[in-house]
Each structure stands twice: as structure tokens, then as C-alpha cells.
Subunit: 320 residues, 2 copies
DNA sequence: GGAGTCCTCCGAAACGTTTCAATAACAAAT
DNA sequence: ATTTGTTATTGAAACGTTTCGGAGGACTCC
């Protein structure tokens, strides 16, 4: 591997001169600089991130740890992060699963933005201490170097549920949980509860899914198999489950929205494709990402951080 | 930041001993090792990737550069790569846009798998020389350190088009290009051409889209606005354009598949949701990813590489 | 009791940068 | 002619690891 030493030798100057040139230091006159640059270019010299990071004690890189590349939700979020980060002169790297853990444990970035429920609180708190700022998007967790920027799920779900309840008379309302214990599920459920209570409704049934389409399908099949009465309004913790439920409901010839209403959360692309189109809550993912990125950079620079609240936007379509 | 030196001092052994312990070297007896481990744990020591990478002259990391996180196609591919890589003891980092360039130019990984048309051949060839093996997924390009693993688009499109042509009598066949000049578009178009020629068809019309749903929609609107005759079979370079076309066709009350047939390529999730369900070609993305990852690792290790050919699977649904 | 063999541990060099402090060369000012 | 100042350049230390080559001690074996 060609190193800075080779460039120095080839251009007849010292290592330090080469380094200054490559970092555009003004104290090197153009005549020397251009010669060095040309030679560096000729031998295809690429600097070593490792050496540079070691010396400078930073990486100019932000790690984004997500739970999986499949989620239809991450696209805009990552886009927003990337956008903001390039603006600030940082590089974004994205990881999942065990790779995220490796990267965290080896201090491979200056800060991390994480939305991956598989990364335990314990690991995060422990790591943050020696790693650098960690910003959580998928849960609330406060610690000295751990921050969070979460969505106001509660309020959004309150609004959506209220709309669903008042749009027509429903008698048997059901809440479909996602993975229990997650921040998203809990806060959305809270919003649901507040909404039905504020409308003097006290009975509701609960079903438990896993945020996946499949788990939504299973819920319907199970209701039918056990011959339980079918709810006439499903408030679902996310769109994927809602769409799964809708699919099976249609197969069994239920009339949506007339006999059964349904709504989701997230406004994934599919939501406006299914028939009828799904009412849901849209999150400004792109802004959320930009926000998180900005916060990360501010924390690294030890500047004052400007925390925003991310709100959801209720979107009423045809599903209830 | 706590370093290995701090651990050494706190546990009363030398730096080298700590290093051996942390790397599970058998020459350190368990009694010493466990003490050191405990102290490292207590002070929350995290090793420095930078220092380690510099010394070992590798990163145990593979970079995957993709064009954008939005594409519905990348999910399984990344999943396959990640799967294979963890099996081989490597960490995967994913990047887009300018971040990819930064990472490439600073030699931040041991190899790269790229499918991002924005990264120029020139950059890739130049970088590969000092970076390490680069494996291209989105084009063919051979150079000393540049490799490619591409899909047999031509054959798959040949089969799909043949099926479409023979399924019923069509008189006005159209090919809908994606971004021209891309490997995918070119090879798919070749397959289309071979198919119609082998069926003694010599006339066809061409439309030019951008691989996006929107561009598909535009094509239909433009045909109608200009009062051109509507084709009765659209062979599209990908699903997204096909779905855009289908959408507008339905709005204008064309009967699919009876008066107009259509097919796509890629088998994105949406393809089985639209009505009628889209005929298309499915790519084994997960295997493709695993394949690419394995190749990358073999190249790094300078082992013999086993190159596979990735084939597409034609899926006939209801759209022609 | 001396030579040989293990076992446990350590010192120091090296990886490729950045950057401080210092030097050399030369012009300008006294 | 010496000092002063400026500009161009350099040497060397430091960043935090890994790992080679030993050192020192305990044990075995004759």
C-alpha cells in the first residue's frame, strides 16, 4: 500500500510537507503543493483512515444502527440523516444486527443514531460512556451520554382514534398491539386509551401482533377459527398489521369500511395502494432524520443542542 | 478515553498482557485473564478500531455502497450480504452518495460491494488499486481489482417476453426503457429483442422512462395526450414503471390484461398487490448478496473464488 | 545441582498519520 | 555587517494497538 512516505520520497519533500499539502494548509506555496498533489495522484495514493482517525482521535463518521433494511419506514429517515450529515461534513455508515454491535464496541464512529430494539439498554448505556453520544429513536432512555428523539405517538394516535370513533357508530372496538414493551406500541396504545376514554367508551378488546403483516393476518384467522365475534373497528399499532388484517378480512368477505373499520400508523407506501386506502398517521421521517443528525453533530461539537419534538400527521382515507 | 494502558495500569500487568487477554490468547492463564477482563469491564474499556486497524492493516469490514435506501430491491440483498459476512467474521457497513466516496477514498474497509450507478468507473478503477477488491453488482467492468457479479437479465427477459407474446395475440408491442445506458436496461432490452425476433416480430415501439413509477405514469399520459395509438403489450424494464403504467391505464379505463398486457422485472412487493397482479421476473436477491459477500471475503483472503451465475425466475401472474 | 523445558509475562518496535517546535534560507531593516 | 522578520520546510513525538523476541522463574530429568 502506498503511504504518505512514498509520496514524500517520490516528490522529494518531507512527510510533513505532504501532509500539509493534502490537508490544504496555506503555508505550503502552490508551486510545491501542485507538484506533490500530482505525484500523489499518479501513484494512486489513498490516505489511511485508520492512521488519521488514530491521530486525530475522531472519525468524522456517524453510525446509524437500524433493526433491518426491510422496514418500509427507514428510507426517508436515512435520507434525512445523510442529507444533514453531508452538510456538516460527516460521513454516514449504516449497519444492522451484529455489525452494529461490533461497530459500537470498537468505537468506529464519533456518535451513533440508533433505532434497533435488539440493542439492549444495558449495552447502549455502557457503550455510550466510552463511545460518544448515542441518540435513540426507538425508545426513551436517559443517561449521561444517551439521548433520545422520539415521535409524539400518543397525541397522534389519540387524534386518529378519535376520528375513527366519531366517523360512524362502532360497537366493538379492538386495539391491535405490535410487539409489546416497545416504545411505539406503548405510546400508541396510550393514545388509543385516552381517545376512547374521552369518548366515554370503556370496553374494547385487544389482540397481540408483532408489527408484521403476517401477524395481522393471523389475528383475523384466529378470530374466525375460534368463532369469536368480529370487531367492527381495528385500531392497529402500525400499517403492516392493519394491511394484513384488511387482506384476510377481504378474503372472508367483510365489507370495509362499512361493517369493519380499520386504521394503521406510519403511512407506509402500501397504505395508499390497498383497497380501501388505509387511514393512518404519517411521520415526517426525513425531518426526523435531519434532526437526529444535527443533534448528533452538535453533541460531538459540544455545542448547545436544539431538541425538537416530532409530531405525526393524521391522514384520513377510506378505511373507516 | 480509557485505553489499554489504563487497563494495564489498573490491573498491574503490562500492556502486552492485556492485549493478549483481550484477544483470548491461550498463553495467558485463566487466573490472570479473568482479573484483567474484569477490570477492563469495570472501567468500560472499549478498544480503538483505529489503532487496531492501523496495526493489523485490515478492518474486518466490508463496505456496501448502494445508490439509495429507497429502492425496494435492496432489502434482501443486504440481508444476504450481512448473513454471509457475519458467518465469515466480517462486519458490514452500508453507505450511499458522498459517504460512499469518502469511505472508498479513505480505505475504510477491506473490500467493497457496490451497486450505485453514481460511482463512476474511473473512480472505482482508480480506487480499487489501493483500496482492495471491489465487486460490482450493477454493471460489468473488468479490471485488475474490480470484479462483477451480475444477473442474467438477458435470458430472463427473453423468457418473460416470449411468454407474454405467446399468451395471446398482440399487435402493438412496446418496450419501456429504464435509465438508458445502465447495465440492467441494456441487457433486459437485449433479451426483449431476442424474444421478439425469435417470434418473427419486427415492429415494436419504444418509450423511455427512468425506472420510477412516476416515469411510467408520464408515459401513458403522454401517449394519450398526443393521441398516439395505445400499445397492447408493455414490456417494462422494471416493476415500478410497469405499475405506474398500469395505474394510469386503469384510470383511463383500459382493460388489463384483455386489451392491454403488461409485465415488469424485479418482483418487488407491490407487484403482487396491484390488480391485476403483475407478471415479472424474480431475482434471488438474498443469494445474490450471500454470493457477493462470499466472493469479497475470498478475494481478501486471496483464496480461489467461486463465481456463480445469478439467474432470474420468471413469474407469470395476471397482467398479460 | 546443572541443563533443559515450560510457563507466564514484558519491553519495544511498528503501523501511517498529524502537528508542534525548530531550522534554514533569504529579504528587509537597522 | 549584524539583527530582525518572514517564508518554506523539516524532524520527531504522539495516537493505541499487536506481536516478535526474550527474560525470569519454576519444574523436570538425569
Amino acid at each position: 500500500m502506498a503511504s504518505i512516505k512514498d509520496v514524500a520520497k517520490a516528490s522529494g519533500v518531507s512527510i510533513s510537507t505532504v501532509s500539509y499539502v493534502l490537508n490544504d494548509d496555506p503555508r505550503i506555496p502552490e508551486v510545491t503543493a501542485s507538484k506533490v498533489r500530482q505525484i500523489a495522484n499518479e501513484i494512486g495514493y489513498l490516505p489511511s483512515a485508520a492512521a488519521r482517525n488514530l491521530k486525530k482521535q475522531n472519525t468524522k463518521t456517524i453510525l446509524v444502527a437500524i433493526s433491518d433494511f426491510g422496514g418500509p419506514v427507514y428510507h426517508e429517515l436515512l435520507d434525512g440523516i445523510q442529507h444533514q450529515l453531508t452538510k456538516e461534513g460527516y460521513t454516514m455508515i449504516v449497519s444492522t444486527g451484529i455489525s452494529s454491535v461490533n461497530l459500537l464496541k470498537e468505537r468506529s464512529a464519533d456518535a451513533a443514531i440508533v433505532t434497533d430494539i435488539h440493542l439492549s439498554n444495558e449495552l447502549l448505556i455502557k457503550t455510550a460512556k466510552n463511545f460518544g453520544p448515542i441518540i435513540l429513536l426507538d425508545r426513551k432512555l436517559s443517561d449521561e451520554f444517551v439521548y433520545h428523539i422520539t415521535i409524539d405517538n400518543e397525541e397522534a394516535m389519540f387524534e386518529l382514534t378519535s376520528k375513527a370513533i366519531t366517523s360512524r357508530k362502532r360497537n366493538k372496538i379492538a386495539y391491535v398491539h405490535g410487539v409489546t414493551g416497545t416504545y411505539d406500541n406503548q405510546t400508541r396504545f396510550q393514545g388509543f386509551l385516552r381517545a376512547i376514554h374521552s369518548h366515554q367508551i370503556s370496553t374494547y378488546s385487544e389482540y397481540f401482533g408483532l408489527f408484521t403483516k403476517q401477524s395481522g393476518e393471523d389475528i383475523v384467522e384466529q378470530i374466525i377459527r375460534k368463532e369469536e365475534p368480529m370487531p367492527d373497528l381495528f385500531i392497529c399499532a402500525n400499517d403492516e398489521m392493519a394491511i394484513g388484517i384488511m387482506d384476510r378480512l377481504k378474503v372472508h368477505h367483510f365489507d370495509i369500511p362499512n361493517t369493519v373499520g380499520i386504521c394503521g400508523f406510519d403511512d407506509i407506501d402500501l397504505s395508499s395502494y390497498v383497497q380501501p386506502q388505509l387511514s393512518t398517521v404519517k411521520i415526517a421521517h426525513r425531518e426526523w432524520g435531519m434532526n437526529a443528525a444535527l443533534t448528533a453533530v452538535q453533541l460531538i461539537r459540544k455545542e448547545a443542542v436544539t431538541f425538537f419534538v416530532q409530531k405525526g400527521q393524521v391522514i384520513i382515507r377510506d378505511s373507516f
